[in-house]
Symmetry: D3
Subunit: 135 residues, 6 copies
């Protein structure tokens, strides 16, 4: 029997959307108000969906404490109360929520081994969400 577990965490960050390879007017056109030079910010919600066999003895897909510890160390400590543009990973990558999703997926996919990481979903506002599933 395979089940899925979705776990959510929240962090607050700022960012500015600006691509170095585009001109000022192209950046303004592509990103609109998100290109504002002083930046802006969001309360991000990230949900990681992991899947796996339900253990016959414990009745669990994986240990939530372990999942929380991984997220705390690799996601919350990296992003919470930070300006995304100043982080190493976004030096050559625009910190759109699409790219943030992909990066969080990569970190879980490479480092979290207790269950299969199926999908990462990031909500940027209550009206916007982004998903990446490794395709």
């Amino acid at each position: 029997m395979k089940a899925y577990l979705g776990r959510r965490w929240r962090f607050a960050s700022s960012h500015r959307l600006h691509a170095e390879s585009l001109s000022a007017s192209e950046n303004a056109s592509v990103y609109g108000k998100c290109n504002n030079p002083h930046g802006h910010g969001h309360n991000y919600t990230v949900e990681v969906l992991v899947g796996g066999e339900v253990d016959a003895v414990t009745g669990m897909v994986c240990d939530l404490v372990e999942l929380d510890r991984f997220a705390q160390k690799h996601v919350l400590e990296a992003y919470d109360h930070q300006n995304l543009n100043t982080l190493d990973v976004f030096q050559n990558l625009v910190p759109t929520t699409e790219n943030l999703c992909r990066e969080i997926y990569r970190v879980f996919h490479e480092g979290f081994t207790a269950a299969k990481v199926e999908r990462v979903r990031v909500e940027e506002t209550s009206n916007n969400s982004f998903e990446y599933a490794g395709e």
Copy 2:
């Protein structure tokens, strides 16, 4: 790399569920209180999920401003503060949320070309939601 973007909008409409080809008692039986002749209404939330390659330069699946403009013109202006039963599209189609989902999918699928429309989801109340994915 393929990512997905979900965007939500809200509109307030009224409707009455009533099929012309059914008798009064069949309508009452099938639709219950939703068959009340004077109608009732809902705050609908519609979420469109679009998918596509994340652009290597912009880091985006598609332009949100463009998606919003399409929804404003083709969904919100059509449905917000309207009685669904009076609209052309529901003259021969009962305005259930299943049919509303299908119609919004059709409109996006035919007219929105900046990314692939994967799925339309409409929440009728906080306890009911409907999805259509073109199957």
Copy 3:
């Protein structure tokens, strides 16, 4: 010791905002898209706040089952899946949410005696709410 208990219920109704004593153009100006002749609708959430001494034996302000039964009979049966404009109480009263609040307050105030009705709050959408406290 005085405590307060807030209880919420939901109903779905349609309405049209239109004042008989105003001209067509005045109605259009005052109510905007809410004056649309065919009506529109909402999922309303009503919260009644009651207050009273916490009973030393039971530890309760009042019996929730009794409060629910009152709301079911006097609010939900009256309004759920109805067109507010067709109801007796709104024959000479525009069914704005302000008036809906006042009417629900009146019904609780006159009929519910197990605790003091402090305030009625109605949410028309996730962004709009109205309150009446008997002032």
Copy 4:
């Protein structure tokens, strides 16, 4: 045309996570604070997703009233305001939310025939959710 309908219900239960085949220290290690001998509890939200052809006449996947009646009888009456550990189904099965999901899926899958049961999702808290889709 195939559409999907998601319907949500809520119930409040208590449970204790404890596997008979594990030692006291193993239980403490696996379940942490959820192994507290006196139990704890949650407001669970269950969402059942059903899918099927949209009926050409009624415009519906299935009758919501029938779906609600089934859930009321087989889920809410079984679990609401109960201690999960005392129920027959959890005598030899740890009442984790993974196992709760599977059990609710089984009940719907075996007994609800008006539409295909695609997936059962249970939210244990606002940050935790579990899904089972019969795999």
Copy 5:
């Protein structure tokens, strides 16, 4: 200038409503399904509202970190993943949410001195909330 700060925390507990001084049938009548001998549980949300002068230098009513530390030590460690009926404070007090509110108010009122505790609000479910303001 006086401002107010509301801060929310969540905990999951079980309880049984049962008054020692009432007979079995009285308990069943007063508490209904909440009197179930095996108990049930909730995800509680507690919000403490504190008020005070906004400091002219820091722009703050009080230090959130201090408020969180107090809540962690005196509320979350006391109640989270516990059976309320087993706790000292509820040995002679029915663990209704009214009494839980009063107890949390008392703890903050007596021990938290960085700002005035104005009100404690506890949500038992998404439809029920209770408040106590020291009256």
Copy 6:
């Protein structure tokens, strides 16, 4: 008859909490991670509560369209997708949410005349909210 209307809007901004008159270590101590030099951000929700007589003809406290237009011009255009620290009003005022509340209250109080501004509430995250009522 006096009723109250609460209206909510959302904006996304970044800020850094740092008081010029404090030393680096004092700032670090007072603001913790909010003092991070590169800033961070939030999705802010602002709710303005206005009160007034319900007009006997229109059934309304005030015109929602007018209220929205005022908020759009004086709040959303000022703050949305901005870095609060770069704005004139926060040149000598730390952009805490307490001060943001007071400033939005001041703007409404001085400029919005169609109803009495009773209170401004700003939610910084789903767990934090601030209120100012002109005291």
